[in-house]
């Protein structure tokens, strides 16, 4: 008999994306089926785009939840966030089409009536709420998706998209005529509201999660600190190479930044303590560099699908850059000496910045099936596919795990695809940043 968790992992990776998209467009398709020939008019198209946009936004709201079953179904929280992002952008594009086609259909019959649809007319709740939602979505999308702003500001503004979503729900209520499609759209939108509330009240507050306490702080480099945390009550169960969301709490010696961020667990799963490495990349991670022993932290998770179970017995190449090699520390600790051949490629600017090289060498010393290679940008150039193959041999038929800065991972993934490596053999933890 197949366990529930294993069943999820046996499904193809595109399956959860298909389920989410189908759920999102159900109200629109229901409406199109019930409208018959009306669906082929400008107004019909406008209604279709309106229902589709509402559904996509609603499911996108659900895909921002940090739920371990979602993480498992999508093979990593990064893929959940990528789906959240894609559905949100698709909803935004359809939302822009909705009032334009509605107004165009009206314009062709009665230009004066079209004018009343093209402005947030306060005398009509349906028109006013629709425009309010559209303008809020427009402003927050342009500010948070199209601009490069510091993460903590982006996070606040992105959260404010909830206001736009609220206006959209108001619009759905104001335009509801008792149709099945309208009912489905409202039901889905209500689920999105619940999802948003759950994220806001049960996940984002830094006090939510398992309670841990810092027992050791070790400065690893000028911008990197290693923390060891022990459980104060329940212990987190995790798999090697996974990550957690961690938020520090205020203590007499330390004032926390009030945000939770993802950090890879670098220790062995049997160790009740959690080992994490934090690199100062932004406001909050800079702040954590000053964390002291006895500071309490809240831990949520575990998440991560960098090492799919079906790849366990196959030859692998792990390619990591900078702090991105940390998932390999935990993973290397559980690999059996007679396991599959594993090559680790450590990419760094130079030997001085390869902070975890010695740790990896120590972990692989008694494991003849594992080998550590280095690519130093200062002396041998960027980690290109030929540079990697010159160290580990042909990459064909191997499982490739990529971890590191998003630009490096993205460039490598494209190069590997161009080299003819099937996408199913390339595993990443992308989409975690925004």
């Amino acid at each position: 008999m197949v366990a529930k968790g294993e069943l999820v992992l046996k499904l193809p990776s595109w399956f959860p994306v298909l389920v989410a998209t189908t759920l999102a467009v159900t109200p629109a398709l229901t409406w199109a089926c019930s409208a018959g020939a009306d669906a082929l008019t400008w107004h019909g198209f406008a209604r279709f785009t309106g229902f589709a946009a509402a559904g996509l936004f609603a499911v996108s709201m659900l895909l921002m939840l940090r739920l371990t079953w979602l993480d498992r179904a999508f093979r990593g929280l990064g893929h959940v966030y990528q789906a959240h992002h894609a559905l949100g952008v698709a909803g935004f594009l359809l939302l822009l089409v909705h009032p334009l086609t509605l107004a165009l259909g009206t314009f062709l019959v009665e230009p004066a009536a079209a004018l009343r649809l093209l402005w947030p007319n306060p005398s009509s709740k349906a028109v006013f709420s629709g425009w309010l939602a559209l303008l809020l979505f427009l402003v927050f999308f342009v500010v948070t998706v199209a601009q490069r702003i510091p993460f903590h500001r982006w996070r606040r503004l992105h959260r404010a998209l909830g206001l736009a979503y609220g206006a959209m729900v108001w619009h759905l209520v104001a335009t509801y005529h008792g149709s099945v499609a309208g009912g489905l759209a409202l039901g889905l939108a209500a689920l999105g509201v619940l999802g948003f509330a759950h994220r806001l009240l049960a996940e984002d507050p830094p006090s939510r999660g398992l309670r841990y306490r810092i027992t050791s702080v070790r400065r690893r480099g000028p911008k990197v600190v290693d923390l060891v945390l022990e459980p104060l009550d329940k212990k987190l169960r995790f798999e090697a190479g996974q990550f957690v969301y961690l938020a520090m709490r205020d203590s007499p010696d330390y004032q926390a930044c009030g945000e939770s961020h993802p950090y890879t667990l670098t220790g062995h799963p049997d160790d009740p303590r959690l080992h994490v490495s934090v690199k100062a990349l932004g406001f909050c991670t800079r702040h954590i560099q000053e964390a002291t022993v006895d500071t309490e932290a809240a831990v949520q998770g575990p998440f991560g699908g960098l090492f799919p179970p079906q790849t366990m017995n196959r030859p692998q190449v792990w390619i990591g850059g900078g702090i991105g090699v940390t998932p390999f520390l935990g993973r290397a600790s559980i690999i059996a000496a007679d396991g599959p051949s594993i090559d680790i490629v450590y990419c760094a600017a130079n030997e001085g910045t390869a902070l975890y090289l010695e740790d990896l060498r120590t972990l692989t010393r008694d494991r003849p099936n594992m080998c550590v290679h280095t690519i130093y940008e200062d002396t041998t150039g960027l980690p290109t596919v030929p540079a990697i193959e010159s160290r580990v041999g042909s990459l064909e038929g191997k499982e490739l795990m990529l971890a590191g800065p998003p630009a490096m991972v993205d460039a490598l993934r494209r190069a590997l695809r161009a080299r003819g490596i099937p996408a199913a053999h390339i595993h990443t933890e992308e989409g975690m940043a925004r």
Partner: protein, 119 residues
């Protein structure tokens, strides 16, 4: 094209399309269609116009040819076509759910006026 560019291009295209539609609609609205000459109609005459492709309504003793408006109506066309060729005052006044049409809707209705209905 990355997401940032898609969002920016879409936002700009939207604003361009919106301003074009607004200016065209404003221009056309300044030249309203001349009022049609009123004529006297019987209910039997109106009853002939009982199809979606030829739909007249009787509202407060006046007949309106709303055929061209059907596709522009915010609610599904069925809410109107069920009344084609019939007395529709109550349906129009209450939207069949006890909710009144806006003054703008009444104003718009007059542009489809065909004639007075004698009983």
């Amino acid at each position: 094209m990355n997401t940032r560019r898609v969002v920016l291009v879409a936002a700009l295209a939207f604003m361009l399309a919106w301003s074009t539609l607004v200016s065209l609609a404003a221009q056309k609205s300044r030249h309203p269609v001349a009022p049609r000459e009123a004529r006297l109609l019987s209910r039997a005459e109106v009853a002939h116009h009982d199809r979606p492709e030829d739909c007249w309504l009787v509202i407060r003793g006046k007949a309106y040819d709303v055929t061209k408006y059907l596709s522009a109506h915010p609610a599904p066309p069925r809410t109107i076509t069920d009344h084609c060729g019939k007395e529709s005052t109550s349906a129009f006044e209450t939207k069949e759910r006890g909710r009144a049409h806006s003054p703008q809707a009444w104003q718009l209705l007059e542009t489809y006026f065909v004639g007075e209905v004698r009983d």
